[in-house]
Amino acid sequence: MEAIAGWWDDYFWASIVVFKVFIASLLFMVLFGLIGAMAKLSNNRIAQKLASAYTIVFRGTPEILVILLLYFGSAIALTSIAQVFNPDIKFLDVPPFWAGTFAISVIVGSYATETFRGAFLGVDPGHVEAARALGLSDFQSFIHVRIPEMWRIALPPFGNHMLSLVKDTALISIIGLNETLFVAKQATSFTGKPFVMYILVGCIYLAFSTVITLTVMGFEKFGNRHLKEAL
């Protein structure tokens, strides 16, 4: 235990990094998921094809490859652009934080596409028709009928997507993001106590996933409270 003594602050700041990645990638993931779902549900053939290509590609490619490709690929592109303006520049890269965040949100967004699409189709068309019959406008029935029903259907799989986001954050340490796994590597080379260091990383991630699971459970209870009263 005394081996960790000098490392608490490093682990703390690294956990903050994990949290930041989570928040940023959550926003992007929802964005990609919604765009993908909209494309899949649209009547446009090309948009449908593009969206299904998107889901197929990222379902079949290992996360680590996407992260490496985006990081090194963007570094090469950036370097060659920068060399046009200033030939002295040898190497430029996108910060690992943004390359990694973008990569994991694209990946998990492809799963979220299916979730959002399923939730949209899961709303009983009769409810929307009823809303229209009552004189609600398209926009109103979307806000007051579709959205409240959709988020309840989407919540359980969406919780799983959030868990995958947090767990994929560990992979970004491969391209040098200063998160907990990265800290553990440094701490190990200093103290020679790898077991404690990596177990601590495990505990931090477990804490993150526990908080997410409990939050989702709370929301689920809140979302389905009307069902309980009816029974």
Partner: protein, 233 residues
């Protein structure tokens, strides 16, 4: 242009050497994971808290932490202890290959057992009641009624788990295992041509995923052939 085509051709041939390693990791760890999953499942549906609770804690821990962290704990963490290095498991845990298999199968066991439990819970209770009314014992009911139906129900989810296992095998490259990703990363480090190498590697993985999906689809059709004849689902 011809340069990069030659490079792609060359490196794809090199990376395909790692295909054997990738498939080995996938099949051995999924097989062991399935055995572990069945044991965990039996513990969870046993109805005894001293069996159920440990299984639940195990599943919670392994599903709540990233596989990469589990791999690192096993590969870097365990050799810290003297008794591990003296134990009979040391020949396995000494190498990246053994550690990758251990980590992957422990992880897939946790995920798979949840999938199987979903399948078991989805079996119609009436069928089990009918079986016990016909005088079948508990093991008989489990073997002849529950297992075949639960297998069919959990197969689609299991195929997803199998695909995510394929993706997870690429993490073995972080602990010096020369699977397809490991070889690809070595080539990129030498040539610094990430686009060509990683994109062609991604395509190889996608082709593998496609074949896995097809095979599971075929098995699914075969297992549910009688439901089509009768028109039930």
């Amino acid at each position: 242009m011809t340069e990069s085509v030659a490079l792609i051709f060359d490196s794809v041939l090199k990376m395909l050497v790692g295909l054997g390693m990738t498939l080995q990791l996938l099949i051995i760890s999924s097989g062991l994971g399935l055995i572990l999953a069945v044991i965990l499942l039996l513990m969870r549906i046993s109805g005894k808290w001293y069996l159920n609770l440990p299984a639940q804690i195990y599943i919670y821990i392994f599903r709540g932490t990233p596989i990469l962290v589990q791999i690192f704990i096993i590969y870097y963490g365990l050799p810290q202890f003297e008794f591990i290095r003296d134990s009979i498991f040391w020949p396995i845990l000494r190498e990246g290959y053994g550690c990758a298999i251990v980590a992957l199968f422990l992880n897939s066991g946790a995920y798979t057992s949840e999938i199987l439990r979903g399948g078991v819970l989805a079996v119609d209770q009436g069928l089990l009641e009918a079986a016990s009314a016909l005088g079948m014992s508990k093991p008989q009911r489990f073997l002849y009624i529950l297992t075949p139906i639960a297998t069919r129900i959990s197969l689609p989810a299991y195929s997803n788990e199998f695909i995510s296992m394929l993706k997870s095998t690429s993490l073995a490259s972080t602990i010096t295992v020369a699977d397809m990703t490991g070889i690809g990363r070595t080539i990129v480090a030498q040539t610094f041509a990430p686009y060509e190498i990683f994109l062609s590697l991604a395509i190889i993985y996608m082709i593998l995923t496609f074949f896995i999906q097809r095979s599971f689809g075929w098995i699914e059709n075969r297992l549910s052939r009688y439901t089509k004849k009768l028109g039930i689902s």
